[in-house]
Each structure stands twice: as C-alpha cells, then as structure tokens.
C-alpha cells in the first residue's frame, strides 16, 4: 500500500518552478502587449469640469487616450454591485472611468495606452484635468455627522442599516446584575499582496474571441463581468489566472475598472493590452478593510455569564459598495465567537466616506468582531476579578451543544449553525502551550528586573467553506497521467499540492503523475472563486467526489478487462491489481486507452482502441449512458459554512521608557478539522499571524482630512519585516472533523489573522494595567495612553494596580 498522502507533510509541487524564477506572474506575460495606465483623481471629492489631453498628444509612444466620453452601451453604465442585499438601500458603484464626479483620491478618470509604462506615465503626467473640489468626508465620525455627503442622493451617508437580534438583549441587560459599556475602534488596513493587480487581454479578430489573464481570485467572475460589459457571449471569453503574487482578499473584488478597460482597449485597438498596477496605485485604487467604530453594552451575572449583549457599530466602506455588505455582516454574525449569550442584538450602519473602497481582506470583518467580543470578555473578567480564561469558559458553547444554532443569518444568507468544535479543549490546549498558569511568576520576575510584560488571549470562530459550489474534474490520460482541474484560483496557498494529495489517495496514484490546474475558465467554466477559506473545503470536496467517480469507472473497466469482481481490485501506484492474483493487473493508462473507442490510430497505444478492435459488438462503441474516456466530474455545493475555530495567546513586552511594544511569544491553537497537509496549514497560520501582528502594531491607512492617503508607500505603511515578529509562532492543532463534507475538513486560510488585534490588546492591557480600546497601537499612542492614565516612566517599576487580581 502507498502511504496515504492526506495528512502527510508533503513538500509542495508548486515550488520547483517558483524558486527557479520560472513562475509566470501577470507582468511576466505579454511581452508584446501595449501598456495601459490610468489618470487618477488627486482629489477625494470633486466635480470633473474638463479633461484636456492636448499637451499629451506629442509624447512619444502614445497609442490612445480615452475618457468617459469614449464609452457607450454597458461600458458607460456603473460597474456592477456584485452582492446585492435587501438592506442595502443606497448602494452605489463607480464607473470604469469617472463620469462627472470623483469620490476618492485615486479614482480612475482617464486611460492611456502607450508602448510601455515609461511612456504611459509621461502621457498621464501631461493630461490636465480641471476639477471643482467638493467638501470631503473622511472618518467614521464625519460620515455619521453627515455635515457633508459623499453622494448627494444618499442621506446621512448611510448605505445600509442592518439589525439582527435573538431574544430581548436590551431587557436582559436592564435586568442584569452587572453592566459594562465599551467604545472600541479599529483602523483601516489592507491586504497588500506583494504583487499588485494586473490584467492582460488579447483580442482575436479572426474568431471574435477575447483571451484574458488576470491576477484575480475569481476567473469566472472576471469572465462574466467582462462579457457583460463588452456585450460578448461567455463562450467567447476565456480568463486564465497565471501565478498570482498573493491576494488575501483584495483580488476577490472584481471587476476592477482596469479589467474592463484592458479588455475593451484590446478589442478596440486589436492589439494585446496589459495593465500592471504599481505600488502607489495599489494604495489608492485597490481595496482596504477593517475600519470600524463599535459600542458594546453587555449585561452579565456574578459568574460572568453573558445575559444580554448589544452591539452597535459603524462600518466605513469607502466611496462605493461594489462588494455589498459582506464585511459588516460577517462582523455582526461572527462576533459571538465560541460564546452563547442569552440574548444578542447587533445593529450596524455601513457608511460612505471619500476614501478607497472597502472589500474583504483576510479575515473579512472577523478581526473587528473578535476585537469587540474579546475586549468585552476581558472587561468582564476585570470587573469581576476573575481569570480571563475562566470567564470565557463559563460562556462557551460545549461539544454537547453541537450543532449549535445561533438563530442568526450568516453572510451566505443561511442560518448560522456551528457544525463542530471543542472550545473547552482548545482553551485547555492553549493554556498549556503558552503556560498561562505560570505566567504570574514570569511577570513578577520580569518586573523585578525592571521589565514590563503582559499576556493576553483571544478566541474566534470562523465560518469557512461557504457555497454556492465548486467543481472538480479528474481525467486519466492514456499516458497514465492524471489531469485535475478546478475553477477557483490560487494565490500561493498550495492548492495544487493539497488537491494532488486528495487525488493520489482516491485513485491510488503517485503525486508525481498528477497535474492540477486552477482558475482556467476553458478547463472549468463553472466556478465561483477563492474567498472565505473555502478552497480546500469546497474544491477539495468536489475533486474528491470527481476522483471517486473516475475510480468507479476505472474499477468497472478493469473488472471487465481482468475478468474479476470489482470488489477484489485495488489500485496502487497507477496499476489496478486483483488482490491475491499476482500478475493480474492493468495500468490506468491502458484502461484510459480502452475507455475511448477511436476511429483513428495515432500511435501504438491508440491502435489498441480503435473502434474496430475492441468493444462488445452487440452494443454501440460507447454504451448508452456512458462517456468515452475516464473522466470524473462532480460539484460540491455545501448546505452551509463549516466552522473552524481557534484561540491565540500573546506575550508582549512594553518598554517602560520608550513605549516600544515587542511580541515575545505568540501561541496558536487551531481547529480546521482534518488536516490535508500540516506544513501548508502551519504556513497559512504563520502568514495570518504576521498580518494580525501587523494589523495590531504597525499597519494603518493614514488619511488626512482632505482625503489624501499620507502613507501610500512601503516606507510609511509598515508591513512587518522578520524583525517585527516573534522568533517562533507556536502552533498546536486540534482536529474536530466537520460532519458536513466528505473529507471532514474546515477552512484554514484566514484564521491566523483573526484574533491578532484582540489578543495583543489584551496582552498590552495586562502589561500596562489600563484599558486598550483602539487598535492598531503605536509606541507613540501607548506613550500618550500612559500619560492619560498617569503611569509615567518614573513609576515604571511600580507593581500592577492593586485592583487587578492575579491571573493564575
């Protein structure tokens, strides 16, 4: 028997190419293509009075300049609102090129096609746009105040107001023995993949077909959107995703104006056209996320049990709502984490500001949710003087409660029902991993040495693997090679490896014989996309089902060929054998030959399979109800999300003098059900944790009051280097299999980032002895918090405030 690949620490099949410099990322393609560049608004809010291109016409390398005036038909309509929602009463989307008005600095105003990017920038520089500046709305407070409006026809800057409730939270809070209120804030950040957006299009005038390559998380989405805008049939548009240099959510947003514009220009000019976003553009024209203000009211009993929880929050979605309400809906529903309050009410406003749009970034509203819930848990523990882990334990949903119905509606429109998880066990594992119960001694020793340290934790539950569906195709070629395709796209997660692992086990073949393709609409025209930690769950399940179909056909054919009972057959290393009958065997390649009755013989292999040499002469060459070849094809469409979960603990040190904050240790307990490849899951957690720490301590989008992004560079948007992260991210896995899918798996992609800000705020609070209610937090901000709480460097060596109990 070949050892099972599922669950093994298998090295990635993607890497040999990528470490050799042989990857094919978007800008590596289309050496012959023209370059598209975009004239972007320097104003956050303005009317466009005039666009004067005369100064640009003499520039070498110019091919064409287009403005809104050049667009017609669907191209002249606003971009689609991808995910409508009944509560989204005032949804707005931008035009591919601004019509009369711009609503954020960076919005596309005109496009230039030139021979290369150098020339294109020369031309962009010489196009003069006359703007009439309008009042700018920046920040949630200003959006709420609505002194000025982003869109004249959207009163109060409110796109949507959504309320969900279970029980009567207000009454429960009113009757509770203890009540706390917290005001919380999380600032904007962004996904910030190392490769920005990019798209290349070739129009084939002979056949009227368009071929697109896009650095996207949804090839089928881009295909449908471009076809609709350009008035093409879907079958005349192909979208392929090449190697993609990271996504983290920002590339699930589509179509970006440039995806449409490149395609339109390629057809209009009948020449290949490419857009490669540069870093500065990425900051001001690709999506951001996270920014929310939250007000929490909680009523609890003497034991710290949640009697009523009422959360009101305000979500900054930027200038438009192309991705609907997904982010705030996730915040509102995933806020409860592993807990079961007796009553819950949540209400949010999704607000317009004159800033870049907000669409999901890894975690997608959950980091904000965990921040609200976990800060609340810490506040309750503080108020009652009980250990922070204890107050959490007392509110956990238990394994016996599973499946647990929160009676809320999740982002996919389905009931929010947890399928699995063992939260008490997770917490016990985390406490052991981080040494929670021994921390007091450590802290006392550190304090005696003049150092200030603190510990914090945070829990989360994450709905992963949502529908609607993905498909898988598993085809056995006559060479014996296995060709696997699924339509969702890859951005570095190692999908080809894990899908090959699944197929290797299902079919009994070597991983070396398997080739996996993702995100090619020619191979998999029906697909959705890579988001919501769904690839392994949804495509993985579909591929497993498809492989099982292929296996069934293999066994049927082999049984006929070997005159054996299918139950006596086994497949190992690409060969079907009859158990207990040495020599009775046939390879998958030969079976593939036999499965396809041919009229023409191309080679020795196919001679075996011409329709004149094989087959039952009483039947047609392809019997009724069957297909030629060995190809398994299936779809997996889950009823609902499967819920991964986890708990993080952080130990931080805060410098008593400089207020620098260092993460000394970061521990993760993670439950994503059965693990296909631990190396890959750990890698996903590492990367997520790094983004979590980045979001907690370094990264923010610093807009000034005029709507100018002040830190639109890697110099000032502070993504962590290795030097900003703890030496080791410590991980322990818990595997409670999902009962919902054939592999018992749950998503793993986003989890690492979710509780970062909550856990680190908890640890800083523990080190400093005062509440931390706004994240990210910089040393400068910690310094000012200390001043406010009168805990200056002079009393750095003083013990923790007396009202704080020991945490052990």
């Amino acid at each position: 028997m070949i050892p099972r690949k599922f669950g093994a620490r298998v090295a990635r099949v993607e890497d040999e190419r990528l470490v050799s410099g042989a990857g094919a990322y978007l800008d590596d393609l289309g050496a012959d293509a023209l370059t598209l560049a975009v004239v972007r608004s320097p104003h956050a809010h303005a009317k466009i009075l005039d666009i004067d291109v005369t100064g640009a016409l003499e520039v070498d390398g110019l091919i064409a300049i287009y403005t809104y005036e050049d667009l017609d038909g669907p191209m002249a309509d606003p971009l689609p609102l991808l995910i409508p929602h009944p509560a989204l009463s005032h949804g707005r989307t931008q035009y591919v090129l601004a019509k009369d008005e711009v609503n954020y600095a960076g919005e596309a105003v005109a496009m230039v096609v030139a021979v290369d990017r150098y020339a294109a920038e020369d031309i962009v520089e010489r196009i003069v746009v006359d703007y009439e500046p309008l009042p700018v709305v920046v920040g949630i407070q200003n959006a709420r105040a609505a002194t000025h409006l982003v869109h004249e026809d959207v009163p109060g800057n409110v796109a949507a107001n959504v309320v969900q409730q279970v029980g009567d939270a207000e009454a429960a809070i009113a009757a509770a023995p203890h009540v706390l209120e917290l005001d919380l804030s999380i600032e904007r950040s962004a996904a910030m993949p190392l490769e920005g957006r990019g798209v290349l299009a070739r129009w084939d005038p002979d056949f009227g077909r368009l071929r697109i390559w896009s650095s996207t998380q949804s090839s089928t989405g881009v295909r449908a959107a471009v076809a609709a805008k350009l008035g093409l049939d879907l079958s005349d548009v192909t979208v392929t995703t090449p190697d993609v240099g990271g996504g983290f959510g920002v590339k699930i947003m589509h179509p970006w104006p440039e995806e449409i514009l490149v395609s339109w220009a390629a057809r209009r000019l009948q020449r290949p056209v490419k857009f490669t976003e540069d870093r500065r553009e990425h900051f001001v024209s690709s999506a951001h996320e996270r920014g929310q203000l939250q007000h929490v009211r909680v009523g609890f009993d003497d034991e710290g049990r949640l009697l009523g929880l009422s959360v009101r929050f305000w979500h900054d979605h930027g200038a438009y709502t192309p991705y609907g309400l997904i982010v705030p809906i996730i915040t509102s529903t995933q806020l409860l984490g592993p807990y079961k309050p007796d009553a819950y009410r949540v209400e949010f406003d999704s607000l317009y500001t004159n800033t870049v749009v907000v669409t999901p970034y890894r975690g997608a509203g959950r980091p904000q949710a965990a921040f609200a819930m976990e800060r609340t848990m810490d506040a309750i523990a503080q108020k009652l003087g009980i250990d922070r882990t204890e107050v959490r334990s007392r509110n956990f949903i238990t394994p016996d409660d599973m499946p647990y119905d929160h009676q809320l509606t999740f982002q996919d429109g389905r009931p929010l029902i947890y399928d699995s998880g063992d939260f008490p066990q997770s917490l016990a594992t985390l406490k052991a991993l981080v040494g929670w119960d021994n921390f007091t001694a450590y802290r006392d020793a550190a304090r005696a040495a003049g150092r200030r340290v603190g510990i914090g934790l945070a829990c989360y539950v994450e709905g992963t693997g949502i529908g609607p569906y993905e498909g898988g195709t598993v085809e056995i070629e006559t060479s014996g090679r296995i060709k696997v395709s699924t339509g969702l796209t890859s951005q570095g997660q190692g999908h080809r490896t894990v899908f090959a692992q699944i197929v290797a086990d299902e079919l009994g073949v070597s991983m070396d014989d398997i080739d996996v393709v993702t995100g090619d609409t020619d191979r998999s025209p029906f697909a959705v996309g890579t988001f919501a930690s769904r690839a392994a769950v949804v495509s993985g399940s579909a591929i497993a089902l498809a492989a099982r179909k292929a296996r069934a056909k293999v066994l049927k054919l082999a049984a006929e060929a070997l005159e054996a009972d299918p139950a006596d057959l086994e497949i190992t290393d690409g060969v079907v054998r009859v158990t207990g009958a040495p020599g009775a065997e046939i390879s998958l390649g030969t079976l593939a030959v036999l499965s396809n009755p041919l009229r023409y013989a191309f080679d020795e292999q196919s001679k075996l399979a011409t329709q004149f040499t094989v087959g039952d002469s009483s039947q047609p060459p392809v019997p009724h109800g069957e297909q030629p070849g060995i190809e398994g094809n299936d779809y997996y469409s889950p009823m609902q999300a499967t819920f991964a979960n986890g708990m993080h603990a952080a130990i931080v040190e805060t410098d008593p003098v400089t207020a620098e904050i260092t993460v000394l240790r970061y521990c993760v307990v993670h439950d994503c059900g059965n693990i296909i490849n631990p190396i890959i899951v750990e890698g996903q957690i590492h990367g997520g944790v790094a983004q979590g720490i980045g979001g907690a301590l370094y990264e923010r989008m610093a807009y000034d009051e005029d709507g100018q992004l002040q830190n639109a560079s890697f110099m000032d948007f502070l993504m962590p280097y290795v030097t900003e992260l703890p030496d080791r991210i410590e991980i322990d896995h818990l595997e409670t299999p999902s009962p919902l899918n054939p592999l018992g798996i749950k998503g793993a992609g986003e989890a690492g980032v979710i509780p970062g800000s909550a856990a680190i705020a908890s640890a800083i609070e523990d080190a400093e002895g005062f509440p931390v209610r706004a994240m990210p937090i910089s040393p400068s901000e910690l310094f000012h918090l200390r001043l406010r709480h009168r805990r200056t460097p002079a009393d750095a060596a003083a013990p923790a405030q007396p009202e704080r109990k020991s945490i052990s």
Binding site: L18, V19, G21, A24, D243, G245, Q493
Partner: protein, 169 residues
C-alpha cells in the same frame, strides 16, 4: 523628442549581454523586459520590499534603485542564475522547497539572492544571524518562520555539498 539610447554591456548570470536602453530604464525593467529574465520581481519600486534584489558584482542590491546604465560593465546575478549548471536547484532554492519557505513565490527571488550572498559571507549562521540576513525583505505570506528555517537548512545543505565535494576530490 525621442530619448537618447545607450549601449550597455552587462554580464548576466555569467553570460555577456548587450542592451540598448534609455538612461532612465531601471535595472529591474532591463532584466525583466529587455532580457526577458522575469524571475526578478518588482514589488514596490521604491526600494523597501526587496523582491527585486539581484547580486551586482556579487553583492545584493535593489534592482529597482539602480539604473541599467549605471550597471554598465558589471556582473548581475538573478534568481535564474542561482540554479546549478546541470539544472538542479541550489542549496538555497532546495531549502526553500524543503521548508515551505514560500507561498505565492513573488518575494522569493529577492530572498534567494540575498541569502545566497549572505551564506557565502557567513556559511554557518546562528538563528539570530539567519533572521538578520533576511531582515530587509518583505514577505506577506509566510510570516518569515519558514524562511528563517530555510536559511538554516540551506547552510546545512551547502555544508553537505561541500563535504561531498571534498570527499570526491
């Protein structure tokens, strides 16, 4: 107003290459678009991310912060030049594969070139030195955990290589 062009001569991955470029052509663009060596990636074009790092006369530099004309007469090594002449991966490349030191792979070439030079100067780095070696490169996928592991693994692989060669001679 067409731009003046300059004839430059580079030694790229050991081979002499002549290119005609305008003065403003960045070395990164020259490698990627004039010489079709697209393994060198461009992540920020202001010298912070390190994805475009190549070796100039053996020392790591940001190729987005060097004009191609300035490199005239000098030797450039890109990620394509790290692979051994027989096509096998170098110790650093192999270590990244062994240790899952990459995810999307976009920043990876800059790490590989930087570490190649780093291990040449310090073949037996401590863990702290391994971290320091990659301290100027941004990765958004891995949290650097497995990159640091890859540096240490590469040092082991290179030492084993060295021993094998010593045994053979």
């Amino acid at each position: 107003m067409s731009e003046q062009l300059h004839d430059i001569r580079l030694t790229v991955n050991g081979a002499p290459r002549n290119v005609v470029v305008p003065a403003r052509r960045l070395l990164s663009d020259c490698l990627r678009h004039d010489l079709q060596l697209t393994g060198t990636h461009v992540g920020c074009e202001h010298g912070v991310c390190g994805a475009c790092t190549v070796l100039l006369d053996g020392e790591p530099v940001r190729s987005c912060l060097v004009l191609a004309v300035s490199a005239h007469g000098h030797a450039v090594t890109t990620v394509e030049g790290l692979t051994r002449p027989d096509g096998r991966l170098s110790a650093v490349q192999q270590a990244f594969r062994d240790c899952h030191g990459l995810q999307c792979g976009f920043c990876t070439p800059g790490f590989l070139t930087t570490i190649t030079a780093g291990l040449r100067d310090n073949p037996t780095p401590s863990r702290e030195q391994a971290r320091d070696m990659v301290a100027g490169n941004l990765c958004r996928c891995t949290g650097y955990q497995n990159i640091v592991a890859s540096v240490l693994r590469a040092a082991e692989l290179a030492a084993a290589d060295h021993d094998r060669r010593a045994d053979a001679s």
